[in-house]
Symmetry: C2
Amino acid sequence: MTPPDTATATRNDLHAQMIALGEAARAAMQELASATADRKNAALRACAAAIRAGAAGLKAANAEDMEAAGARGLTGAMLDRLMLDDARIEAMAKGLEEIAALDDPVGAVMAEWDRPNGLHIARVRVPLGVIGIIYESRPNVTADAGGLCLKSGNAAILRGGSESFRSSTAIVACLHRGLREAGLPEAAVQQVPTSDRAAVGEMLTMSGHIDVIVPRGGKGLIERVQNESRIPVIAHLDGNCHVYVDGAADPAMAVSVVHNAKMRRTGVCGAAESLLVARGAAASILPAIIEDLAASGCEIRGDEATRALDPRVVPAAEADWSAEYLDAVISVKQVADVDEAIAHINRYGSHHTDSIVTGDEAAAGRFLERVDSAIVLHNASTQFADGGEFGMGAEIGISTGRLHARGPVGVEQLTTFKYVVRGAGQVRP
Amino acid sequence: MTPPDTATATRNDLHAQMIALGEAARAAMQELASATADRKNAALRACAAAIRAGAAGLKAANAEDMEAAGARGLTGAMLDRLMLDDARIEAMAKGLEEIAALDDPVGAVMAEWDRPNGLHIARVRVPLGVIGIIYESRPNVTADAGGLCLKSGNAAILRGGSESFRSSTAIVACLHRGLREAGLPEAAVQQVPTSDRAAVGEMLTMSGHIDVIVPRGGKGLIERVQNESRIPVIAHLDGNCHVYVDGAADPAMAVSVVHNAKMRRTGVCGAAESLLVARGAAASILPAIIEDLAASGCEIRGDEATRALDPRVVPAAEADWSAEYLDAVISVKQVADVDEAIAHINRYGSHHTDSIVTGDEAAAGRFLERVDSAIVLHNASTQFADGGEFGMGAEIGISTGRLHARGPVGVEQLTTFKYVVRGAGQVRP
């Protein structure tokens, strides 16, 4: 007799549990897809109320997560991301209420037309289906992602960071209370049954149960998901954003836009990582930009021509042109003109967000047309790369993919469409 | 000394050739993305003229393919798909001219709005980038796919069936002549350098060079591509389409729609494979439908209640409810009402195209809302599932995926968008 293989048994258990989760999500999704906007919004507001009412329980569960994380030696920044206090709990509740206030994307007629044979065709927004969301430590994503999926009529299967498992479980319990109160199925928002990493592997193969995977987190997580997933992925990979200061730029505007693009928050994906300056304007504009950045504590890595302008500029290596620092560091290069700027950005950039500062409309038009990025700006900071700043409401992230969702991913981007065709007995010749 | 490994050397050669192809495509794409509609249309018309002028050469190349295929023992249907004659050559040329006549999707402003801070945001259609198309024997796909990509500003990398390699090579040469005449880069449309299957494997890993893969062909090809691709795939998998004849259906319309949906062409993806009939209407409507189908030579596989109506109905097995016959066979099931029909279709269908025949607007509305398929019809044949019938012009296929393109994939679906933001020096608070 061979002894029972416990690891295999556990894996089989998890697989069965995940399939059950997927089937419950599919059933819930069919109910959600035809739920009225009023009912979904009532559920979102009830979820917010349940989170406020459950604050003590959320903090208790979070304290257990924090204690375990401290014992495992997590660093200060990671512990800070994990922590829930009254302000963060209130922000989660308020976020759900803001999602409730958004327009409902489902059922909107995107286009409609008549055919010569009398058929009437409408393209109508419908939910994507079941969305799997894989994220790291911040537990508030549980409420945000669950709320965005609910609003857009999708069922959500959530897999948060293992270190926030207790916090997320408590948040999901609040969401379930809200869903129940509004008469919607609890399975609209589900959490994987274990903090084990194996749950991620299971999710990525559930192509019959999950319609799209949204990973949120560091590059390591995103790359793992993109490589392993058998399901379409909407994800944010790199944000190597540029500001190009053209020869016809207003100097004060150039200083202000570059400062904001780089220094407002250095850790966000829309932060500028590279500055290109037209050679003809370098002497007149670049010194003031360097002065401003250096005074703000930004490290400046420049090409030779830029180093000649200021001794605080250190040499840039080839790798700097592709780097996403997410820190107070910027690379600076002088270019001949807008065409060289465009070529540089299309070669080294990550097709995320790039801005031109210029008073020359022709140069701006060329840049906006030819830079192949999700967001291109003229005379504005790259840090506007954000669903809220675009007026789209809350976002689940910014997609660097080209298909389906490009740029901010809000509730509208969490939908697909169907064609609804009405006839009077037409048959095809 | 070890002998040189020829297979490895060949693989390395192919890899290098494919990377070179990918880089040429990327460069061509940047030119194409900003080419005017007039120039692209001139190129399409010049390609059509080159195909007409090159007819003799095309037939000679095709004759070599046909001879080799015959020697390899290909069957009649496969040989027919491979064959090019004057009519098929003219159809290719005409197809390119029809694509030229379509509206240009690139540059269209899909939406635009102002923000309170004065930023103006526009969502503008742009090409997807480089599209890899993998298809089977029909050489006309070379011209169709190349033309659709060109119109939508995308560079195409084509990999046709190995048995049609000489024909496709000759067609690509005609397209190159047309592109040259219009002053566009030949690398806008390229064919892989070998008929070897290894080229497919190379394409599926070129995520840095190819933005989307479109496979066209049998289920084996599609599944291989979906399983192996590291690049997003737009594909058509199954077309298990249903007609549901409701209790309130007009009997003559029901017979006519079912006949057309099943029998107009049995081999297309929009052909109905399954008929559901409301139990209350079975006695009054179903005998005439069975009579019509049987008289047309269709095999009918029914549930017990349907078999009781006519001795020509043979028993349906569980597998019949999921089957895509692509042949003169239909499965027939009686259901209680529209809700059971919806549940059956969402469970066994392939989310492609499904139709309800009824005079009851409430039942129709319920069906159109709740059946989770790319195309849902009321009182019309499922065989209208076609880009041309939708008024979208030529299509590269019908997508059964939910993301990006759902249903017919025409030139508009071969685009993505970018956000163009215009400011006056705005920075983010």
